[in-house]
Symmetry: D2
Subunit: 346 residues, 4 copies
């Protein structure tokens, strides 16, 4: 392992997000994964839990701040409420952080505590944390010490509304996001509600009355559009493992606008956002395992409503891939390093 | 087979809808299936094509008006454009018709021809055809000679918006229907786009710019609400066989209305519509194989938008089950005959 | 509810097998479900747990011998080790028992204790218990007080080998059963290994070195053939909910035997076993939700090896359906009552 | 594109195998894909058919020998019967060939014609063609002009029986291969039998009386063991896209042999075969998208029968990945180039 490799740690690597981080980072040409923690699996080789993962030298260790402090970058793939207890000391030690949990995503500590049901351990860091949506915050990310990696729903919904709100062509009070996610978004755990027989061949909405990603999306859209938004957000669970699709609706203020051109111009320089040709429909399989977002936009029956279709892989552009993209930006590396795979299709 | 059984014919019984009709009608205590046609399979025992179907005496015959004329009721489970060529002669012969195709669903022949791309063979019958949504048209159905059985999307979307539009509590220009269907809705055919490897584990919208069920839904909602509606309808394809879920959005005119009570009152007497308790989310598996519609209604964050969740089995309440329900009503039978199964779960 | 209905109780009705029993028994024309127990859900309406189950009057109660003693028949759909603690008192009270767990399946208490890892609570009843495979034990079942309902794998494997062993045309030391089951066979529980993301789109063998159904199958085959058998049994887990397929191999002693005729003759009178025509392959979807077993037999390349293909629904012919069939036989009812559904296909 | 890149052509790139070749070869550091043909899609950008494939410069061309003749290596991912008509001229032109179809897999032209139902166009090349199973033929492959890439079933079955037959520890007349494949093994085509609704949630055997891969497996096993084998081979179709699992049975001649050691020794140096620890069961998800074969071996109940479990991805180690591995060997490159991915899990 070359001396000049970036030393990376992953905290909480037994979940699907941590496992995905591992897949991407093991093949990153500039990274060495030096620390990988799991309280429950400490001492066990990674290969015993993940036989597909060809890294015989990696062994889970119990999370330990001193060991993590030798890392250049630490990723948190932990349940909400864990990162905020360890991040202050690590920042102090000069480690840079990408947190994939929700701990640093909201700027308002009160709002966070209301949705996440616990006191925040370090509200003073909320202002410093950079929200890791590169298509919006690339410049801020390049200097960040602490990145709050967006949730999967927020990534797809914000990317889809982005050109419309920036250009001011829709009524910001009219937004609806009907979003559908694969089951892996719910994490890796023993839960009857996530069992095969309860989900296969069926479909449902959940948390229709209010999902934790709602305030995050609202905050992001408000910043993008420069004004508060009225948003209805209904998440659904798809009988499939990976993939997230958001169908977005808004009322046009200027029906004559060239929507296709607006989207293509906005994302032309973005390495991980593709605007499909008119009439196309994104399919989640086309982004399975990769860091891309596929978008399409249309105006049904030439009416005053715009429909945006957005597809991502919830574990990649919606989690681990975007985290690596953020790390690449933070460290001044080529933004696409380790993220150039082709989707495994079919 | 008892003398007094109702003689029934099924035209086009090799598709999924025809096969489902057969499943229900074979166990109907008052019905004898006497004719079952298929141009491509004529002469073949039904059991050779459908080994699960225990009706050794049934043999596919070529569709023939003289043979069908002995039936009391004929169901058409044919592609669009077939029923309209045979229905006039059968009506003449005193046969009553339930057409599961789209041929008689729109009252405006011109609109029909525009969406279905062919001239209509008997536009003079469009005014007589009764739209077979029992929750709206039960009284008309009891005397009908010709029933236009609703499409799967239209069934779920109309049932969901019904109480809101009847009560006038939402802005009829504000309607959005984000609908998701299992693959069986696309029929039984050799088509690369419907193959397992193209669909499994993936999700997409389709016909976002305009689907054939749109004018049917608009016509139905306008009649229900007594005024034209503004509706955006986006269908999606789920990686599962059966089940259809519609997520409906509308802007409330009277935010104070008791939505739960409104829905419960409207459907209390309906044998096949269940309003779930507050906070519940319908799951398509709970109506798999049965003629029920599960509904839930909520007002997220107590705002001015109402969300309705509707789940049906696209092949039952969305097709064959509703057709049998319509036949029961037409013939003055108990409306629930042959429709009292419990869903096969898991 | 008519006076003369058979009073039935279900112990352990929150699992998939209990839920399936409920589906079948609720529509049984001669049965009244009067008691349905669950320790964890006592006091809760059945409809709250199973919204698809239209039985508003049913409420889970804690299992109680006095209440169960009023039943004519009690079904146990409990984990192994529960029925044996309650059955003696219920038999004493004159209740007849169908046990869907493994408690009474083996005649040798020592063997049972070895495979199930606990002492048997009433080994004295093992000799009386009738093994509930109607195709073998119909006459014994008609007088039984206590029926040990077969496991899902044992049902398919025994039915497939039955004609070969009875006729003595294969070497009993040469048997191989390569069996594949849907996930519902593992029960309804919170278990990471059964979660959607761990199973969807993947396939594996499990317990290749020895599965608990092995001694049960061996015992049954030995009785059928009148001699001990040499059997290798490897179970596998299919990424689907329902359905079990066994592929059986044996070495022919008499290669000239008419295998197709042998199978057709043996099962001609059986209401729930269908021998498919030569060249056909059973598909689990054709028996989904129904009590049938589909069989096919062939001799590849006219060699000395016979291959039998057997398909059942693990929850119906492999569990709850067979239990109802056994009850029908025990009570002298028409064996097919409540078991005449057509599979829901697709 | 560097001058020294190996120029590669893919004939028949619109199928799943061709698409998979493209995925692997586009990221091969020493390869330039210069020609990609499809008769039906000629002139169309690859990205229009495969939106996930980020190669904007690639355009399908009609297959043309002159254009293909500039390639260093040409892969055939065509239906059986196509490669044999084009290979002689290309070999003449100095092109090296990896044929993923069955055209050159059997050494006996008569046997080939019997199973594939057509005359062979160049039987004189059958003797020269090297069977591309690197674990058996690595040395021959390094000099090959023409490689016959093995079928998916033959790859898994041969790798699993390999140590047993080489060591002579099993009776070669006693072999049984019960194999299960994902649907992608059947190719990309419009076929009712491959449609989602006909396959999802169901399982069946097919071609139990004789599958085309049987003579290929027999030929390979005979060469490995130095003697003819008696093999029963039954393929099955899994309701999933990718993955192939073979469960292999044989009678031990020497029950005392250390099977685990035998397997570990045989494959220790193999980069793409992993022998799992005792008691483990290979899962197809652990090799999804990668070129690995996972194997486990056991002797149930310490009897005289050995069971081998083998899992591969049918499109990678069972097709395109093995083809790239063969090309790497033919050209003297590092055998693992472009094949070092980690499986996408979950």
């Amino acid at each position: 392992m070359a001396e000049d490799r970036i030393r990376v740690g992953i905290v909480g690597a037994t979940g699907y997000t941590g496992c995905e981080l591992l897949r991407l980072l093991l093949r990153h040409p500039r990274v060495a994964v030096v620390e990988i923690t799991s309280r429950s699996e400490a001492g066990r080789p990674v290969g015993a839990l993940f036989p597909h993962c060809r890294a015989p030298e990696l062994i889970f260790s119990a999370p330990d701040e001193a060991r993590l402090a030798v890392c250049d970058v630490v990723f948190f793939a932990t349940p909400n409420g864990t990162a905020m207890t360890m991040v202050p000391a690590l920042l102090e030690a000069g480690v840079r952080i990408v947190d994939l949990s929700a701990d640093f995503r909201l700027h308002d500590a009160r709002l966070w505590e209301q949705w996440y049901g616990m006191p925040h351990a370090c509200p003073e860091l909320l202002a410093e944390a950079v929200y890791g949506l590169p298509e919006v915050n690339r410049r801020l990310l390049s200097n960040a010490r602490l990145v709050a990696n967006p949730g999967c729903y927020p990534t797809a919904v914000q990317l889809g509304f982005l050109p419309l709100l920036e250009a001011g062509v829709v009524d910001p009070a009219s937004l609806i996001a009907d979003a559908k996610s694969g089951v892996s978004g719910a994490g890796r755990k023993a839960d009857l509600a996530l069992s095969f027989c309860e989900l296969d061949g069926s479909f449902k909405a959940y948390h229709a009355a209010g999902h934790r990603h709602l305030p995050e999306i609202r905050q992001g859209l408000a910043r993008i559009g420069g004004t508060a938004v009225g948003l209805t957000f209904v998440p659904h669970l798809l009988p499939m493992v990976r993939g997230l699709h958001a169908t977005l609706y808004a009322t046009l203020r200027e029906p004559g606008v060239d929507l296709q051109g607006l989207f293509e111009d906005r994302f032309r320089a973005e390495p991980f956002v593709t605007v499909l040709p008119p009439g196309a429909h994104p399919e989640t399989r086309h982004v399975k395992g990769v860091n891309h977002c596929h978008l399409a936009v249309c105006r049904p029956q030439d009416g005053d409503r715009v429909v945006v279709l957005a597809a991502i892989d919830n574990l990649v552009k919606g989690a681990a891939g975007q985290a690596v993209q953020n790390m690449n930006i933070m460290l001044g590396l080529d933004e696409t390093l380790a993220l150039e795979d082709v989707a495994v299709l079919p």
